[in-house]
Assembly symmetry: C2
Homo-oligomer: 214 residues x 2
């Protein structure tokens, strides 16, 4: 019994985030040729504690060998399967501004299985280009047609804050099931649609707060 199909038990969001971290760590261990690691090894490397790590794994099954540790390669497979990134996810980027280009410019998404297969943009002059880095560019109106056609599951909102809500609505209408919102806007989505917000101003404010109180 190595991998337990995910239970009805609620898994903490924090656990999911940490699993992503562990996965990254393992990349490092793999590169340095380590075959087996213990929970303390991982903890040291990514700044959590060993008990936490074991508990996190336990939600999904038994990934290790008692008295020995975890086989790096197996463990990575198990984590990826647990997270659902043992396959590729089809994404659309909405907004070809500074931030959008920045996202395209990094390989960190592709490397983790998130493929951007369409870009939607309001500005007709940009859309005129037809494609960017081999990814087709469409006007916003095409969303409802293109998204089902390409089987896009996740939408990434990188437009200006004032159009974010409209874009989110269009995305869900078009059949997207998950949304990553980069604008500092509170978006509401129908139940069943997964929404996550990325907002670095909030993190900066968190830093400011802590600096302000010693």
């Amino acid at each position: 019994m190595a991998f337990k199909k995910v239970s009805r038990i609620k898994i903490p969001d924090a656990t999911i985030r940490r699993l992503s971290l562990y996965d990254r760590c393992l990349e490092g261990f793999l590169k340095s040729g380590k075959k087996v690691v213990s929970s303390s090894d991982i903890a040291r490397k990514c700044g959590t504690n060993p008990a936490q790590i074991r508990k996190d794994f336990a939600y999904f099954g038994e990934f290790g060998v008692r008295g020995v540790g975890y086989y790096v390669e197996n463990l990575q497979g198990d984590i990826k399967r647990a997270l659902g990134i043992d396959r590729s996810w089809n994404c659309a980027l909405v907004g070809a501004g500074n931030l959008g280009f920045a996202l395209l410019g990094t390989d960190s998404l592709a490397k983790r299985g998130f493929k951007i297969s369409a870009i939607f943009e309001r500005d007709p002059i940009l859309v005129e280009m037809g494609s960017f880095q081999g990814i087709p560019l469409y006007p916003m109106e095409e969303m409802v047609r293109v998204i089902p056609e390409l089987g896009i599951q996740i939408g990434i909102i990188a437009v200006s804050p004032d159009s974010a809500i409209k874009v989110a609505l269009k995305l869900t209408d078009a059949g997207v099931r998950g949304i990553l919102n980069f604008t500092p806007t509170t978006i509401k989505v129908p139940p069943g649609i997964i929404l996550k917000n990325v907002d670095f101003a909030i993190d900066l404010e968190g830093i400011a707060f802590q600096l302000n109180n010693e």
Copy 2:
């Protein structure tokens, strides 16, 4: 007694993040001319619940008037003061790549009181330009001199993942007290230095996980 100097009591990180959200909400209320709001008004607008909001405020003092609600303008001041963003913070951007430019291209940092007053970049050809959008560009080596000189408190790491740790070390050596790390790298900082990580791949993985389990 309106504002209680922040106590020795530990304030949840989640509370701090929500305060940032509330602050944004209030912007909206201000624009629409609303003078007084209740905790339920805020809750509706930003998707939390009223009790939570009152509890969050309670860590810092009494911001409202019983039986009435909160005076929008006062409340915003109180929240900003609580967060430590009733003043300006001096930041340095390290790395003038895609992501760095994206950060400079948005006004959302400036608008919230985070001023980028120096850019550090490895590539000599870029540094040659001398400045970008009026912000001076320096080679990495100048960090130790420039950061204290300009009184920079927060460093923003937007370099490639493999140099992130080195950069973080340089920043802390130079006297920075807070770091916002945009690379998918686990960084360790000495005690007293505040570190936050922004990693959208993790959020995408969170979406993937949830989609994968209905």
